[in-house]
Amino acid sequence: MSINFSTSIAGRFFPTPIFTASGCAGSGKELSQFFPLTSLGAIVTKSIMIKPRSGRATPRMAETPSGMLNSIGLQGPGIDLFLENDIPWLRDQGARIIVSIAGESVEDYAVLARRLRSVQGISALEVNISCPNVENRGQVFACDPATAADAISAVRRNIGGELPIIAKLSPDVTDIVSIAKSVVDAGADGLALINTLLGMVIDTNSMLPKLSQKTGGLSGPAVRPVAVRAIYQVRAALPEIPIVGMGGVTSGRDAFELVLAGANAVSIGTATFGDPLAAMSITRELEEIVEARGFNNFSDAVGYAHRMEQV
């Protein structure tokens, strides 16, 4: 007999807890050549902004020990073309869709929420607040409890009652728990942890930063211990909030580690670059491990590493 491997995030049902991570699966078209998108818990689309965006100049990436830096700069077609092309295609595939949005001002987030509130076939909104706020000296929204809450409230006020909001947090903060509490108070129904860490690589031949924009986001197995710590801390502080965990997951074992720390679902990012089928093998391995450890329901394993503290 097989286990109940489904999960739910803010009342939405997903048949498996393995998602793609925003920016690491495009809008699903390319991956659909390797597996049917319906076998994912959900596809989280690349963060979309209001207008088309060229992103940053190349080089946009550098490999690092057990990880990589990227500085894509949110290249994308803008919300209009996205809604015209990507969403209908994904709906046709029967995929469960989580749309990630990003803005440069509080108003941007409000506008995006209004554009998305009545779109059919979306399971949730992931709000990427690791973006520079042009109205506040380019300071990243996710780096301050107040500006993070401003972005989330703007979405909350404009989204209507239907669509759950998942706030995606940055680990580059002194106290991630205070940011988590702040966005939950502002109306987030769930949290996504973690976005990339700010890093830099210098090319020792040219003796200049390798990325055109100097800094980039660090992802991959290298950051997994930071992700596990962030998820564990936030789960301990907010026992009831749904968490989508991510950061360096490449195997079922890794996904299970994030689940034990408190993740209700796990997104796969960088691992897909090493193996287009990563999400599928991770799904299979995770189900095996959860069952082998004696759980009948996936959800019983969520946060299980906290059990000693609950006594």
Binding site: C24, G26, K29, A57, T58, S66, I72, G274, D275
Partner: protein
């Protein structure tokens, strides 16, 4: 869109031989070989199971063939450079390698016979020999120019040389052929051989220089570009170049799915580390 034939397989390494500065590596890939066209590339997992390298490495397909016994062969020319390529070049026959192929676009083959000039820099000559054969079969005249920093970095196997009408070699240090760069000899070759189309593969600076010459001489230029690629399958957006589309709009375009073979005259070459003005979404 991603190459519709792309598949992820475990391929046995059949042979690995040193050739000058390079390694000529042959893999058994079954039916996949039938789908590989000149210009396509493969993406290879490097470093083994506990490696610190998380990304695949891209390699142009040197040759792909189905043997009469049904075995499909895929051949690469690998330059041991950094950790990933050194690891690959050190693998021994019998090793099983994780690869995705075929990826990306291929060189466009003219329907009518034309005069083609093939230009390769360093291991960039790899995809040109299979291309030369195809062009020859279509009745084209094929001239070739290969350049490198030094003689050992010219990859030009004997059987490859046979399939071209002329082969010109340039080296930066003059250790083989003409002293200088490929761009130094192009103008004359274009005129002498009444070239209709240039096919090129090599470092970006070389492709940019060729584009200037091809524009000046008003010849078609198909080039295989090489941007750093994290995924190779179109999902990460690291590998982009500003390229003008059919609608006249310049977009940051993925070289792994809309390339590596692109129309050189449509690429906005730039050595600055900034998005050129006029690019969509800047």
């Amino acid at each position: 869109m991603i190459n519709s034939k792309a598949a992820s397989i475990k391929a046995e390494l059949i042979s690995n031989k040193k050739a000058g500065s390079y390694h000529h590596m042959v893999f058994s890939v079954g039916e996949l070989a039938a789908h590989c066209k000149p210009g396509n590339f493969v993406a290879i997992k490097v470093g083994g199971p506990t490696s610190a390298m998380v990304l695949r490495r891209a390699f142009a397909i040197y040759r792909a063939s189905m043997r009469s016994d049904g075995m499909g062969l895929l051949e690469l020319v690998v330059a041991p450079h950094g950790n990933g390529s050194k690891w690959l070049a050190a693998q021994e026959a019998g090793s099983v390698i994780d690869l995705i192929a075929p990826l990306g676009t291929s060189f466009g083959i003219p329907v009518q016979p034309v005069n083609a000039l093939l230009v390769g820099g360093g291991y960039g000559s790899a995809p040109l020999f299979a291309l030369a054969e195809t062009l020859k079969q279509r009745g084209c005249r094929v001239d070739m120019v290969l350049g490198a920093s030094t003689a050992a970095k010219i990859y030009a196997p004997l059987e490859g040389k046979r399939s071209v009408n002329s082969l010109t070699i340039t080296t930066d240090d003059g250790s083989a052929g003409t002293l200088g760069r490929v761009s130094d000899v192009l103008g004359q070759l274009i005129k002498e051989n009444e070239i209709d189309v240039i096919y090129s593969c090599g470092p970006m600076a070389m492709l940019q220089a060729i584009t200037e010459i091809s524009t000046a001489h008003d010849v078609v230029h198909q080039c295989s570009v090489e941007e750093s690629m994290a995924c190779g399958i179109g999902v990460c957006m690291t590998c982009v170049l500003p390229v003008e589309g059919d609608d006249g709009v310049v977009r940051m375009t993925r070289t792994c799915v809309d390339g590596p073979v692109m129309d050189g005259n449509k690429v906005l070459w730039s050595s600055s580390r900034e998005i050129p003005d006029g690019v969509w979404g800047k």
